[in-house]
């Protein structure tokens, strides 16, 4: 589906995937996370093909898909705690969790079951999970979807911090990511 594509990223860089509807942004992100098997091509991390040791690669990733991956019956805080433990982090630091929740203005909603949240509130909870994962690589599919103005600002701040800390990020988006020093990759065709 996607052909002839090649790019490299240095630490501290963000890559915005843009392109017409159906140009393959979502598909590319899933391929990078090894969720779909690309027909050809390779993904290298510091020169080593990541398919050789997928678990280590997965440990480096934080993922935000089109779907949030939150359990409606658990509260925001419970969802975050389970997500951390599933990543293998036995006892997440409470202070960090609170700071991340505060950044997305979710402190007041932390104990609400996720099913009672509106579209944008859920999206913010999922972004909090990405921040807490403390991963080297963020893969984000339309992170700005459904976010209101202040939440978009919060996301930009979080992303800038992540990059400043030496992380890198790849995000599919139709809107402007609004982070300084970002690079853009335009996928062609479809529409």
């Amino acid at each position: 589906m996607i052909e002839r594509l090649s790019f490299g990223l240095a630490t501290g860089e963000v890559l915005a995937l843009v392109g017409r509807n159906g140009s393959g942004k979502t598909t590319l992100l899933r391929a990078l996370a090894l969720l779909v098997r690309p027909e050809a091509g390779a993904i290298r991390w510091q020169g080593v093909d990541v398919t050789a040791d997928p678990e280590t690669w997965r440990g480096r990733l934080a993922w935000l898909g089109h779907l949030e991956g939150l359990k409606g019956d658990l509260s925001v805080a419970e969802n975050l705690r389970v997500a951390e433990r599933l990543r293998g982090d036995a006892s997440p630091d409470i202070g960090r969790v609170e700071a991340a929740l505060a950044a997305f203005d979710l402190l007041g909603l932390a104990d609400r079951p996720v099913r009672t949240l509106s579209a944008g509130q859920r999206r913010r909870a999922a972004l909090t999970r990405v921040v807490l994962a403390d991963a080297a690589v963020w893969l984000l599919d339309e992170p700005l979807n459904a976010l209101d103005g202040p939440a978009q600002v919060a996301f930009r701040v979080a992303l800038a911090n992540h990059l400043a800390g030496g992380g890198l990020a790849i995000a599919a988006t139709h809107a402007d990511l609004g982070v300084a020093g970002g690079r853009t990759l335009e996928l062609g065709r479809a529409g």
Binding site: L35, G65, K71, L86, G88
Partner: protein
């Protein structure tokens, strides 16, 4: 192991939030069992004759009915992607899900079946045998059903498809489960049947987690 425990804990917690879900499965078990006398007629000797088979079949249906959401919920809300991306073996995650399922359905089914057996006029020894065979046999059902649930992820009409996939695989368990009770009644070797049931459970334990993990991976694609 922290991830395994976290996953079992999360699933149990989700069930704990909704105790009704387990109650519904058990209620289905009861209702389904009572349908057979209604279809077949109330003669006590016929009913006692078929009781073990009917109860085992009903337990099988109940376990399968409750399985169709085992992975589907995680699939639909995107949690499956997170499990796939977790840096520990997906096989363990598969096992954790089946384990949680058995705790909330297999265990109560085994406890409830003897009570229903009374309505079919079974004696105390047979009732006890019923509970024991179900206890040993239901883990196999959870594992095989889990495999079917994983295989049907993303397919529509997965309820019937799941049953179709799982039922033939569950036939050996059914035969030896119901057969053990039959053996008891006819003076056959109950212990041997039970040993086969246990062996089936071990085989399932040794093979299905890998198959489930493979199925989940391809469902994510």
């Amino acid at each position: 192991m922290s991830g395994f425990a976290a996953l079992v804990g999360r699933d149990l917690r989700l069930v704990w939030r909704r105790p009704g879900d387990v109650a519904v499965v058990l209620a289905f078990f009861v209702v389904a069992t009572t349908l057979f006398p209604l279809g077949i007629g109330p003669e006590a000797n016929v009913l006692a004759r078929i009781a073990a088979g009917v109860l085992w079949c009903a337990a099988l249906f109940s376990a399968l009915l409750s399985l169709d959401r085992l992975f589907a919920a995680d699939f639909e809300d995107g949690t499956l992607d997170l499990l796939l991306l977790a840096p520990w073996p997906l096989e363990l995650a598969a096992l954790a899900k089946c384990c949680a399922h058995w705790i909330v359905t297999g265990l109560p089914l085994a406890a409830l079946a003897p009570v229903l057996g009374v309505a079919f006029g079974l004696g105390p020894e047979v009732l006890q045998a019923l509970a024991v065979t179900l206890l040993v046999g239901t883990p196999t059902l959870s594992l095989i059903g889990g495999l079917a649930a994983a295989l049907t992820l993303g397919a529509r009409k997965s309820g019937a498809l799941l049953a179709l996939l799982a039922l033939p695989l569950c036939v050996p368990t059914l035969i030896f489960g119901a057969g053990a009770i039959e053996a008891l009644a006819t003076g056959g070797d109950f212990g041997a049947h039970l040993a086969v049931l246990a062996a089936l459970a071990l085989v399932a334990l040794a093979t299905t987690p890998w198959a489930i993990a493979a199925a989940l991976r391809q469902a994510g694609e």
